[in-house]
């Protein structure tokens, strides 16, 4: 299993790899800036640990864990 956004710990950053979401969510995630190669950082989590807030392209977007798991991570600088 390749690493995905849901595995990203609070405070750490990575680069978006492939988007595994399908259908509408795929378009929405990409429109919000989660496109391959974009830098992303996990900022903080809700009291229950889910959802979490991610910084992507200058704005903070909250994603539920199940959805974050559909955003793959690539190698840094990829």
């Amino acid at each position: 299993m390749k690493s995905n956004l849901a595995c990203l710990g609070e405070g750490s950053g990575a680069v978006v790899g492939d988007i595994r979401a399908l259908g509408e969510l795929r378009g929405r995630l990409m429109d919000l800036g989660f496109t391959p190669g974009a830098g992303v950082r996990c900022l903080f989590a809700a009291p229950s640990g889910d959802p979490r807030a991610y910084m992507v392209r200058g704005s903070v977007i909250a994603l539920r864990r199940a959805d974050a798991a559909l955003v793959g991570l690539g190698a840094r600088g990829a």
């Binding site: 988007i19 979401a21 509408e24 969510l25 795929r26 378009g27 929405r28 995630l29 990409m30 429109d31 919000l32 800036g33 496109t35 391959p36 974009a38 900022l43 903080f44 989590a45 809700a46 009291p47 229950s48 640990g49 889910d50 959802p51 807030a53 910084m55 992507v56 392209r57 200058g58 704005s59 903070v60 977007i61 909250a62 994603l63 539920r64 199940a66 959805d67």
Partner: protein, 701 residues
């Protein structure tokens, strides 16, 4: 939509009605939460409600201004991240930009998140070159160390780019001048998607140019056909009046283009298009934006504090209780003062009527009916609203509400609902009708329905004062600061009852008639913004308080007259009101209420604000009640009629959980287009309230 001056202001008209002939029409587009509504206000001088949360603009509003003798019409369209529509709002935005026929589109951008904002701007440029970029929030970005070279951006894009700080009125004149002097640019930036896609799109584009004859951008249409975006294609068909794919030369050109793509090994065109736009945005930003991450350490610390396990929920509850404490404590004295004032004016009116020789029946109907109800509604409603609204608006302006939605998302997720329902629930605190309209921000149809059906489970501001009155009269009778703290906690408990009912009923709905998996909400958490306190106070007083109060008074005055007549005209030894309340009594008693209270809730259907005055009048008409001189004396009247704290508790619960007011029901009908859902929107809260009241009264009664 209820609450804002925008829907009632003299210069405002919702699209579809009251259009003023204009020399130039401008569409105002932009991502959610970039200050689009602030730019709209600054341009048109029109006050409308602007809040700091994503997707606030739920209706298309229009405003006008004159510039150098020419009238410019500005349409504020819903915020959208993309023209690839997701939510109902985004679809409305796309349709207006693509097919609305405006002379030019002003795309408002957030200087602090330009890359993401350019995604939309570049998509719009694909549709029309008649674009002005308004880069707003320059001041905020600068504070975070971000500078935008707007001149460089303008050279790169080929369209005017105006730096703005609309909250400080900076850049507004420049934008007006740019709109006035706008001429179609000779060159506008076009995103290039790579040779394979360009070659396939090129041929199709040429064919489309002949077919479309300028009615729609050929390149835009070609790309949509290639990516097969069915929803946009349907909207295009509606606009053009024919299906592009049914035109033989388009169909064959599309076939050829697709074959070419296949040969080149391009699998997912849609992905390539989004990525292409973002790489263009990235390189534009690399040239024109410098410094800053857009999100500082201070923000992060605050966000962590407001969302951490140990502090997130407690801080939220404390803030809520604090707001209620200030409301309860602060409203007390002005309420008494207003009530006394109204009584004194009532006395003068009474004497004047008598001096004019008005018959006793007319005098009593006007003074004891109309005036008493009006004075109750104003004196009890106005102070809490005038205190609660500005404070709530401050939290909204600050950007706190999306954090609340973030904190509560897991609750809504377990209920099979959308975390954004929390925002529509918060709108419901102001006005349930507005909350129901606000549900448009929820993408999934199933979850939107859940949010619509459960919106009235949180008390709107018309019901807050009822709760405050009940609490201070029966549930928390100690006075002083301690009493106010307890009263605030009791009010918080009633709100939590509403929130709990929302979660529980959402859960039941998503396990029964609205079964389905939770969708995937994506919620933007905008940066915290320092609210402009003066403006907030004025705006919430003008936009909300007075408007809501006016509506309540407009209902209360005739209601007062009707109720007085029903309570005083005797037919066969009994009054109409007594007959009705008598018939209602067994049901009322079963619910821990009585016939009068239940009747008051039924008659309060047009506006809940009238519930308590109706109760008072019904009791007063049947007895000899004289103690009207102060609010606290009303307690004696209620006690005389058998009220205990259990009655007050049941009435409070029923206040939170019963049928919504007519405005809300009509809005539900409009939004869902279904009588069945409207009936359910009334039935669900009523059933919940009835069950809970019956249980309470049987345990304690």
């Amino acid at each position: 939509m209820g609450l804002t001056l925008r829907s009632v202001g003299k210069n405002a008209a919702l699209t579809g009605g009251g259009a003023v002939p204009a020399d130039r029409t401008v569409a105002l587009a932009g991502n959610p939460n970039v200050g689009k509504s602030t730019v709209f206000n600054a341009l048109t001088g029109l006050r409308q409600h602007t809040g700091n949360w994503s997707g606030k603009t739920v209706v298309t509003a229009r405003g006008y201004y004159d510039y150098k003798g020419r009238t410019v019409a500005v349409t504020d369209i819903p915020g959208a991240y993309s023209l690839r529509a997701g939510s109902a709002e985004e679809e409305a935005a796309r349709d207006y930009i693509a097919f609305g026929g405006a002379d030019l589109t002003v795309v408002v951008c957030d200087a602090g998140a330009l890359e993401r904002n350019l995604n939309l701007a570049l998509q719009i440029l694909e549709l029309t070159p008649n674009v002005i970029l308004a880069v707003n929030l320059m001041d905020e970005a600068k504070k975070r160390g971000i500078t935008v070279d707007t001149e460089g951006l303008s050279r790169a894009l080929g369209v005017p780019v105006i730096p703005m700080a609309a909250r400080k009125k900076r850049g507004v004149e420049e934008l007006r001048a740019a709109i006035d002097g706008f001429t179609p640019p000779p060159f506008a930036y076009t995103v290039r998607y790579g040779e394979d896609i360009e070659r396939a799109a090129g041929g199709l584009e040429l064919t489309l140019e002949n077919v479309l004859e300028g009615r729609l951008g050929a390149r835009y249409a070609a790309l949509r056909l290639l990516e097969g975006d069915e929803r946009t294609l349907r909207a295009m068909e509606e606009h053009l009046g024919f299906d592009l794919k049914s035109v033989p030369e388009v169909a064959s050109a599309l076939e050829r283009a697709k074959a070419e793509l296949e040969k080149a090994g391009v699998e997912d065109v849609a992905d390539r298009l989004i990525s292409g736009i973002y790489s263009a945005a990235t390189s534009l930003c690399r040239e024109c934006v410098s410094g800053g991450s857009g999100y500082g350490e201070g923000q992060l610390r605050l966000d962590r504090f407001l969302t951490r396990r140990a502090t997130g929920i407690p801080v939220m509850l404390l803030l809520l209780a604090l707001i209620f404490f200030i409301t309860v404590k602060g409203a007390n004295a002005p309420s008494d003062w207003l009530y006394a004032l109204f009584e004194r004016i009532g006395g003068l009116l009474s004497r004047a009527l008598t001096a004019l020789g008005a018959p006793a029946a007319v005098h009593d109907a006007l003074i004891l009916g109309v005036w008493r109800v009006l004075s109750y509604v104003v004196s009890v409603m106005l102070p809490p609203m005038a205190i609660f609204f500005p404070m709530f608006t401050l939290l909204e302006d600050l950007g706190y509400l999306p954090r609340v939605a973030f904190n509560l998302d897991s609750g809504f997720r377990r209920a099979g609902a959308c975390g954004k329902q929390c925002l529509t629930m918060a709108m419901g605190f102001g006005c349930n009708a507005a909350g129901v309209v606000g549900c448009r921000i929820i993408d999934s149809k199933r979850e939107r329905l859940i949010a619509v059906l459960t919106n009235s489970l949180v008390p709107c501001n018309g019901r807050f004062p009822i709760l405050i009155a009940l609490i201070t009269m029966f549930l928390v009778t100690s006075s002083g600061v301690g009493g106010s703290v307890l009263a605030a906690l009791a009010l918080t408990a009633f709100i939590l009852l509403g929130v709990g009912a929302t979660l529980l009923i959402s859960r039941i709905l998503s396990r029964t008639i609205l079964r389905g998996e939770a969708s995937s909400p994506t919620l933007e958490l905008p940066p915290f913004r320092k609210p402009k306190i003066g403006e907030v106070v004025v705006r919430s007083l003008l936009d909300r308080t007075l408007f809501v109060l006016g509506r309540a008074a407009a209902v209360a005055a005739p209601a007062g007259l009707l109720i007085w007549l029903a309570a005083n005209i005797r037919v066969g030894g009994t009054t109409a009101l007594a007959a009705v309340t008598g018939a209602m009594d067994p049901v009322g008693r079963f619910l821990g209420l009585d016939g009068v209270i239940l009747t008051a809730f039924i008659l309060g259907l047009p506006a809940n604000e009238t519930v308590i005055p109706i109760i008072i009048m019904a009791y007063a008409a049947s007895g000899s009640f004289e103690g009207y001189e102060s609010l606290s004396s009303l307690r004696a009247l209620l006690t005389q009629n058998g009220w205990t704290w259990v009655t007050a508790l049941c009435t409070g619960v029923f206040t939170v959980l019963h049928w919504p007011c007519t405005t809300t029901l009509l809005t539900v009908k409009k939004e869902t287009g279904s009588v069945k859902w409207t009936a359910l929107a009334a039935l669900i809260p009523t059933a919940a309230g009835a069950i809970l009241c019956a249980v309470i009264s049987h345990i304690f009664g």
